[in-house]
Amino acid sequence: MWALWRLISLPHVRQHRGRVVLAAAGIALGVAVFVAVRVTNVSTLRAFARTVDAIAGRASLEITGYGAPIDERLLTVVRRTPGVAAAAPLVLADVLVQEAEGAPLLVAGIDLVTDRAVRDYTFAWQETDRRDPLALLTQPDALVLSTRFARRYGLRLGDPVHVHTAQGTRRLVVRGLLRPTGAAEALGGHFAVMDIAAAQLLFHRLGRLDRIDVVPQAGFPLDALQAALQQRLGPGVQVRRPQARNRTVEKMLRSFHVNLTALSLIALIVGLFLIYNSTTSAVVQRRRELGILRALGVARRRLRRLILGEALLLGAVGSVAGVGLGLLLARLALWLVAPAITALFLREHLDRLVLTPGTALAGVALGLGTTLGAAAWPVREALRVAPLDALQQRGVYTPRQAPVWPVTLVGLGLLAAAYGLSQLPPLGEVALFGYLACLALVLGLSCLVPLLLRALGVARPLLLRGGGVEGLLALDNLRYALRRTTVATAALLTSFAMMISVAIMIQSFKRTVYTWVEQTLRADLLVHQASPGGERSGLSLPHALRDELLRLDGVRDVDSARALDITYRGDPVLLVAVDFDVYARYGTYPFAAGDPQAAMRQVLEAQAVLVSENFSRRYRLGVGDTLVLPTPRGPQRFAIAGVVIDYSSERGTITMNRRTYVAFWDDPQVDAFGVFVAPGADLDEVAQRIQRHFAGRYPLYVLTRGKFKERVLELVAQPFWVTYALEIIAIAVALLGVTTALSAAILERTRELGVLRAVGATRQRLARMVLLEGGLMGVVGGSSGLVAGFFLALILIYVINRQVFGWTLQLTVPGWFAAAAFVLLVAATLAASWRPAQQAARVPVVEAIQYE
């Protein structure tokens, strides 16, 4: 076997370096996309887990309120509970640091004496402060930054820093630095500590704590301790293991990750098409060589092993390169995804990529599997030819006019299967059958491509008139080399369909959300706390500011909104508190179920809530049902007064009156105020007046309703950028497919091209013929991709989106985008055909016509 490798395979590879590299690049790209998505997904979750572990330290249990701080007196109860070795109180707050370009920082208020039993810190002090660091740290303005954060933003010991908090802007002083170990590693170093008493004062938590971390005595059963603590502390707090947060985050990100993984597999399918084409091309070129070998007595089985071995080696090189490329791509994806994840899901600092052996192995296995799967068929076909035929076939285009009906029937069957699969319910929370329906649809339509290409015969007179004899020949080449052109066209169809479907979904999503914001947002101005850079920050504001706002000139009314992540039946959901008495005066929600007037009244006057349509679908709850929510005052029952259209959260939203919310959560903060401007007042003037009034205390970001709607649309589109990046890669792989398919065609038709030159065709005309062939593939792949994309979008919107997010979206087709993308695709296909066109133009005439 080695002799065959040395004599046959290696010279071939050496001779056709370009094509070998192209095929390996196709596999590498497919694997890279898969690896990049996996790495991004794992890195996101690992980063969060690292932060959870770093902050938790040695604590095995944590005690928190249900979306609200807990009474600090509980600390004594905890410490007295048998089995508790140590308990450390924590006050946690997010701030933005003005001197650090407005970077976010998680400040932990800790008890400097007891906290070391739970967490490890290594402080770095100034020489002068070494004498009594504790005294220094307990000063009310003392802040201890992580060394990483201080270095990143050029902050030194003794530097004053201005932090934006939910309670306004405060001046603190960097009194110490934390070496990058233990808790200081949390959030990529965006972590600081201060004395707990100072933190309680600074963040308005007097007498309250955000968390108590518990270290159990060695050997004490953890479950028993958890149960004992829960019993002693009552139902208003939750005792859980810190790692439970990881599971919550995993749930939050699951749909996002599943979507990305599904898209990455599509890129691999396109890669599969490419490998099929490059193997076909290699086999076609070597048919004569294979014929000679077989005539010399080399068994068919041995040749199969030889060529499949070559393909596997190529697959292995491509896959390993793909893993490396995937890491690079992950960095790009991280750059694209991180803002979306940070904005939508969690505030994590993704600065470390995690490539697990599992991911690398899965990538390589997928690459190898794809290569083998794609190479098997062309190799089988090549070895089926009798040795003598193979010897005579070099450079001769001998179309085997296989009937198209069998593959058409398969295609129709797959389309029927796609429809059937789309009707099935989700598997758990994963829309598995929806994704399979997408796959069946794409493969089904790909199977109809031969029929489509054959049917193009009706366009022959048209092409002859429009494209001359080159047009006619290009069309016939497509129609008579169906196997080769089908695969390349199907790759174009698949990748383009993905792009179009996602574009339709984004447009539908944007349009739906825009309409929803239009219907529900009644206030003229939206007031948020500003970041040091003057942008909108995620910091909350005290509800008490409402009275001050109401007293300003030009302000007619003010309502507020507060959003809180809570858990319902173990899942993360969004709780929104709104000043219903104000809101109801100006508008209402778009109701999906329930009587709007009665429901609004019920929410205002009783312990009732509105739930979003996706919440209602997910938990099968409707008007008249009752919800039991965990609150700081223990589990409480809330009647569902109505089901409303709401796109605030893909996890489901519960909306209640602020008065009801405060009664159970005792939360004085809001996320935003909605200001209703008096008739005749100028919006900009009122906005400036509001900012001036709070200047120095609260930097405010005031947006008009119109601007807010624009920002919402930007935010909605942001997470999808990464999908566009993946689709562009898939299209690039498909275009490589066009190049290899046309190159293979040139090899197959060497004699034909020679004859054309001999009867008077110029080099330019041959080049034009190949370009037209590529362009036609672009037109067929693109137009069928448009159709496939539309139906894929239907599945994405009405099946997957509904099953994963529970939302109803209004189907909106971005016509201009689709048209522009189609033109670009055809242009890109022409560009991809350029090299084969030059190849055709350079065919040596005499050599070509002398092939026998």
Binding site: Y397, P461, G468, L473, R751, E752, R757, V759, R763, V846
Partner: protein
């Protein structure tokens, strides 16, 4: 009559590994309009290379090839293509028809390449197919035709643009005797009835016997030029 095709001290060398092989050696020849010249010689004597040089498909290593007074070496690629399209028709031993096209489309191909309107091209192709006695087979594709039929289509294609010169490389070499005779008759009639200059490469003395002159090659060089034995 003036020479429509002239070769002046033409040589063609090929490099095979480290060796230089002289396929055509100092050939000088003048062929006049309407003349039928047979090039004969054993296999490997340089017949096909000589025809390729005449068609501008190969460039001579030395010497000049003149077609209608034009030195082919001075022509650009597009001009050579135009020459092959309008002035020279080529008939190959292995027919070389495009398998995706029908017989009529194969014949119409040079016309379409020359910019003739599709309808006119089809009409001319039909007329030529009738002349080669293939009118009923005009919609057949090459795979549905016999060897003799394919060669007749190839001849019709070569005549499509009414070229002054017909070059035929072993046109009967792949045919049985009956079909070979039929094709040769058609080629002969093209020359004598239609006034084409016919240069035919063959190793078959009986075929060469119908030519006006027979040029015999040996190792690329002309060993004799004689009037055919009739």
């Amino acid at each position: 009559m003036k020479a429509t095709l002239a070769l002046d001290q033409v040589s063609k060398e090929f490099r095979q590994g480290t060796q230089v092989v002289r396929a055509v050696d100092e050939v000088s020849l003048e062929i006049e309009a309407g003349e039928f010249v047979a090039i004969t010689g054993a296999s490997g004597s340089g017949k096909s290379t000589l025809l390729h040089l005449m068609a501008g498909l190969e460039t001579p290593s030395r010497g000049r090839v003149l077609v209608a007074g034009k030195d082919l070496a001075t022509l650009r690629d597009a001009e050579l293509a135009a020459l092959r399209l309008h002035t020279i028709g080529f008939v190959f031993q292995f027919f070389h028809l495009l398998p995706a096209l029908t017989a009529e489309e194969n014949v119409a191909l040079p016309l379409l390449l020359a910019g003739v309107a599709p309808r006119q091209a089809a009409a001319r192709a039909a007329e030529l197919l009738a002349w080669v006695q293939l009118a009923p087979r005009r919609t057949a594709r090459p795979a549905e035709l016999s060897g003799g039929e394919m060669q007749r289509v190839a001849l019709a294609r070569a005549l499509a643009n009414d070229p002054a010169i017909l070059l035929a490389d072993e046109p009967t070499g792949n045919l049985d005797s009956q079909n070979g005779r039929l094709v040769l008759d058609l080629l002969y009639r093209s020359c004598k009835e239609r006034g084409k200059t016919l240069v035919l490469a063959t190793h078959d003395r009986a075929v060469a016997a119908r030519a006006d002159r027979v040029v015999e090659l040996q190792d690329g060089a002309v060993v004799s030029i004689s009037a055919a034995e009739r």
